[in-house]
Amino acid sequence: MSSFRVSGRGRVDHTQPIQFTFDGKKIKGFKGDTIASALLANGIHLMGRSFKYHRPRGAVTAGSEEPNALVGTRRGPGRFEPNTRATVQEIWDGLQVNSQNRYPSLSFDIGAINDKAYMLFSAGFYYKTFMWPKSFWDKVYEPFIRAAAGLGVSPTEPDPDHYASRYLHTDVLIIGAGPAGLAAALTAARAGSQVTLVDENPEAGGSLLSEPSAVIEDVPAWDWVAKTVAELKELGVKVMTRTTAIGYYHQNMVGLCEKLTDHLASPDAETPRERMWRVRAKQVVLAQGALEKPLVFDGNDRPGVMLAGSAQTYINRYGVRVGNKAVIVTSHDSAWYAAFDLADAGTTIAAIVDTRSEPNADLIAEATKRGIRIMAGHTVTGTEGRLRVKSVRVNPVTGSTVGQAEIIGCDCLLMSGGWTPSLHLFSHTKGTLKWDDERQTFLPDHKAEECEIAGAGRGLWGIEAVLNDGAEMGAAVAKSLGKKAKAASYGVANDRSGTGVSHKELPTDLDAGKARAFVDYQNDVTAKDLRLAVREGMRSIEHVKRYTTNGMATDQGKMSNINGLNIASDALGVPQPKVGLTTFRPPYTPTTFGAFCGYHKGSHFEVTRKTPIDSWAEENGAAYEPVSLWRRAWYFPKDGEDMHAAVSRECLATRASVGIFDASTLGKIEVVGPDSVEFMNRMYTNPWTKLAPGRARYGLLLGDDGFIRDDGVIGRLADDRFHVTTTTGGAARVLNMMEDYLQTEWPDLDVWLTSTTEQWATIALNGPNARKVLEPFVEGLDMSDEAFPHMSVAECRVGGFPARLFRISFTGEVGFEVNVPAHAGRALWEMLFEAGKKYDICPYGTETMHVLRAEKGYIIVGQDTDGTVTPHDAGLSWAIGKMKPDFVGKRGLARPDLVAEGRKQLIGLLTEDGKTKLEEGAQIVLDPNQPKPMKMVGHVTSSYHSDAAGRPIAMALLEDGFNRMGETIYIPMPDRVIKATVTGTVFYDPEGERLKL
């Protein structure tokens, strides 16, 4: 056993030794140790290097607020985590721990050169030092800063763990299982409330775990904790440990992150690593206690310099003395008790330095009894020691005069600057804070949620006061839930309550400008940085924070906020409440992405919508592309074909004979009701009154601003029934828009809207032989050109299935779209494909569909339009029912900007050499020789190689495009300028001869 472990002390299991590695070296600890407590038990304080200056650092706390002791942990293959708090992570056999931010080794680190160059890295250095010359930023400054500064490295392997997520509803949620939380839980549960009690530690007890000598109602503190937890469980209270309340959201929703496996050597593979709980509580009790503040003085960050309360935790909870010879420096009574506990465990206390001139007489008596030197009215002005503190510089202070220094040797320096109530979660609720002059800290004021704050979290001190407050708050929440509750009254013996004062940085007889007096350890922000920020004009605390980065590290200023505020307030000459506090935001402690992600990863990240025919496409080697949430067959490559070859073949086959295409993703909306024709007249630009049942029409949908929103073919099945199709991506949006107008503008219309997208499988047959393939399967319909002309719709049977058959074309060839019930989609597809073989039927995908429609100049909304295109701009004026009194967008089309000359209009482009294919999105200019930045007059919206046209074709939106027919325009590319001629948008069969049977 190492000389720092005290046998018989602490809550670790001395009979269960555990071995882990730190930077490859084997380290022994006990079950119940954290990485930090085990390292300290082995005399190791140096645990990492700091963010900016690479200064040697050790654990300064014993809890989740730790800013320094961040390590990399490896829990087996793929399971690497950077920035694990050594003060929180429990050890187990085989855990691999590595120090961070050092090269080549922790004790000798090249990056520490930054420390010597600290003048360069002062407040606002990002904004000043590296501003000039500008060209140096990318190549010199940024790489240098990135290499030099930073925390741990990201894991490189995929995370093999899984994470869970759950909801929980509870009457009372109590956050923090220290004395206040336990008393609150007991009171509320005894009153019959349903209670959930959570704590981030592996066990309940909170500060009582560090106070074993306290006696509560004649029961020793640790026994009282055990007894209380047992009673809570008996009362049905859900007690959750290793569970951090990370955020407090609206209407009493609290996010909890429960860690389930990180403390286990061989976790069950079925157990998630972490579980995110979304808790909805009727009442919340915040019992998170208080965090100890450091004192701010030169060298307050050396390994071995630690919070006194944390040293007390290490001895009492882990049985670890943090050193052999300690100096205490404090402005609060609490540190004296840490000194006494350590002295009683065998550590020499070289001195208690108290900044107050007259500390409590009882404390002085206790110290004197132990032979401890007391230096009241003194300050600390510096420390020495390269990788561990070896001496402290102590000076007397009289008024504003700092007297002569004395050097006192030590191997640890325990400090306390008093305590800060933990207000993070309360602040998440937008509850307001009030400055408390007596305690020199912010306390909760107006509550924004149904909650109570109990104990040290609202500035109370001492176990008895906190227990009784917890009981009161437990009773209060139970009563608000209609229960009869009675708060027990607790008496506590050996209660070590006390008081203290708050400081800005401690006074010094040395040059304060050279002091490395840290306020924010994790971001390496010193008192000098804060004062510099104020000198350079920062007035608001929010500006000071951003300029210096104080409180912006992953610990969110848990230890630095009040010290930073005190210093900024002093520098500004404005009292603290006028300076204000920066905002705390969730999460309370760093939380893994995995916990937030939960089940939503891999194939569960986003749904993939598949059509009823998707499986056939997969079996037949389709390449896919995502279209909104759908995956669609993109093209069907044959052996060795690339996309270009496959698409070329599919296009030719379709125009030569027949192609088959899965159009099931088209949005479909059934518009039904006595007023459906009136509704259609109002929604779409086109006139619908005269469209007879059995006929179909291209429909254009605008917004009331006059811009194109969607389009699709719409068939009238009966006087009161329309089959509306939308773009694949627009289906939900269109239905939403229709519902909006129907419900809120025209509630008088008797119309029903139903999404039928997934009820129908839609198969498109296109090409001169399309009818020959289809006709044998059709029952109950005369398919002659006369009886069933282009733009017809009919209800019939196809392949034995009930069907809605459209004769329409998105290719310029004779085309049919067969809608059959989704379950019949694949069967019908296979029948048609089999029958089509004698016509060399060719399945094609979305790319060929795009080429074929572009050859005909058919637009795709969202590709050839962008939300600023009118029907006229797109060459679709013919689709406007000009005689209609109103439709959505009619008034918008008359807006001055929409009728103005020179708008961007959709035109065709042919490159001059007949070979170059333009890039979609490429910008167009009129004069390629003009100076940069050039005036851009439009962009290419669609561009393909067209076999039918025998050359590449493109569509573009071009300023005043309709008046530029035949003109040459230019498309500048990185390596050359491409010339193109403005044309119409129909590149194939402009007369529409091929639509005829």
Binding site: Y249, M253, A448, N736, E739, E745, D886
Partner: protein
């Protein structure tokens, strides 16, 4: 996550079931052709964008599908009331009194 009361379902349900639908009580003019460019511009684009109680529309998208109106404080993100689309616009002073 907010809990929102749907006045049609008469249930208070998680925010995930609802979608926001812009400012409320902006009626489309009955005869758009008769309004001036300025009036039409205001109908399309001009919104109050208040800091504080805001009359707005929501839709119970993953529920009954109905649009309804609400008053929500844009500072605290708290709903003061939700009501049916054909209910009259509630008076702010009474709402604020009630919420106190």
């Amino acid at each position: 996550m907010l809990l929102i009361h749907c006045p049609y379902c008469n249930q208070t349900l998680p925010e995930l079931e609802f979608t926001y639908a812009g400012e409320a009580h902006i009626a489309r003019p009955a005869d758009p052709s008769s309004v001036s460019d300025e009036e039409w511009r205001d109908f399309l684009f001009i919104r109050t964008n208040v800091k504080g109680p805001h009359y707005e529309r929501w839709r119970h998208f993953h529920g009954c599908g109905r649009y309804f109106n609400a008053v929500r404080d844009t500072v605290s993100d708290r709903f003061l009331i939700t009501y049916k689309t054909d209910d009259p616009r509630p008076e702010l002073s009474k709402l604020l009194e009630k919420s106190k």
